[in-house]
Symmetry: C2
Subunit: 199 residues, 2 copies
Amino acid sequence: MFIFVRMHSTVKKSRKVQIEEKATTLFREKGYAATSMRDLAQVLGIEAASLYSHIKSKEELLQKICFRMADRFFDAWKEVETEQNSYAAKMQKAAIAYVQVITQNTDASAVFFNEWRHLSEPHLSKFLSMRNDYEGRFIEIIEKGIAAGEFQQVDSKFMMLAILSSLNWTHNWYKPNGKLSPEDVANKLSNLILNGLKK
Amino acid sequence: MFIFVRMHSTVKKSRKVQIEEKATTLFREKGYAATSMRDLAQVLGIEAASLYSHIKSKEELLQKICFRMADRFFDAWKEVETEQNSYAAKMQKAAIAYVQVITQNTDASAVFFNEWRHLSEPHLSKFLSMRNDYEGRFIEIIEKGIAAGEFQQVDSKFMMLAILSSLNWTHNWYKPNGKLSPEDVANKLSNLILNGLKK
DNA sequence: TCCTGTTGCTAACGAGCGTTAGCATGTTTA
DNA sequence: TAAACATGCTAACGCTCGTTAGCAACAGGA
């Protein structure tokens, strides 16, 4: 057995982690409801019943994926709080932090954005309130930016939705091995948001 | 029996149309895979087996919803072709036409954007090629706008994705009876796209 | 009046679902 | 060496799935 975590490539992943990873991929590709435990078992080369030696339920997998992503987004926000110059700069930092989380976890992001509605209570409510919290942080930046005279006078909630939706979409096309780094993507997007398409 | 189509409110809808409408709502709320024919039958007050006097299969419902939306998007594009002034104006017209289709069909839009992957072949391929066609039209406007010196020099495909994603998101929050008209939404969004958030 | 179309039912089909029980094997830890 | 853990199996549970067969009631048009 290897010593725990030496290099990424040589880590022996626990079966549980392997299951979670394959589940993430499958949930992304086929959707949560359309992915069966037998599908999941098959890609791991075991029987469906064997999965239950490692996990509690199918939904537990979804919960792990969704709330782990939520944690990553909140963690990334710490970067935003360090920014003290302008609200434009703060918005840019928020976009960069956000896009970085997405591009570093494209499969989990897709599940996070598309499959959360299959969470049961009370997880669903918790998820929605976290999302609400996060969206509020973007609204706050926009509103303070308007008050400070930096931004156009726009409907802040409306603008938050437009901005986040273009950031959220990133997981659908971003290729981790492509020519664009997460920073490139985030910078291009925040440039579009702040300055628009026109010259 | 009423004469066919006199007023919206007094039209006697065929059972088939009623089924398609309820299916659209359910597919939107629960997702295609998680919606059962028994669910659908229940909201109509009939037995699941009775549905099959009117429709061929569950997937046929999804196909109808998806391709009817696709038709609406292509229809709406005719408006864009009439615009001859500037590429900014053309982009604005495209955004308006697009958002109008979405806001006038929020449930069907949600299904169109989220459930298309459950289409089987050859419908899936047809769907994807139509989407590709449509995206290409946005790319063309962006590229010609850049060539004409109207737009910043940006990656046109990247920009198309960012723009469409913020338009696509509209169905998630738009309230048909709210204070914003489809035109309002479209104008605000195209203003953001063209001019950005900054003053 | 007969025909055709619309609408709906009950009963049932084979298949797949998530999950549990109970057991076996090998590996690590004490 | 013994206990504990990790990993996997077969068999099966109760349930739901989409769908079909066959039949019945009623409407509108010829």
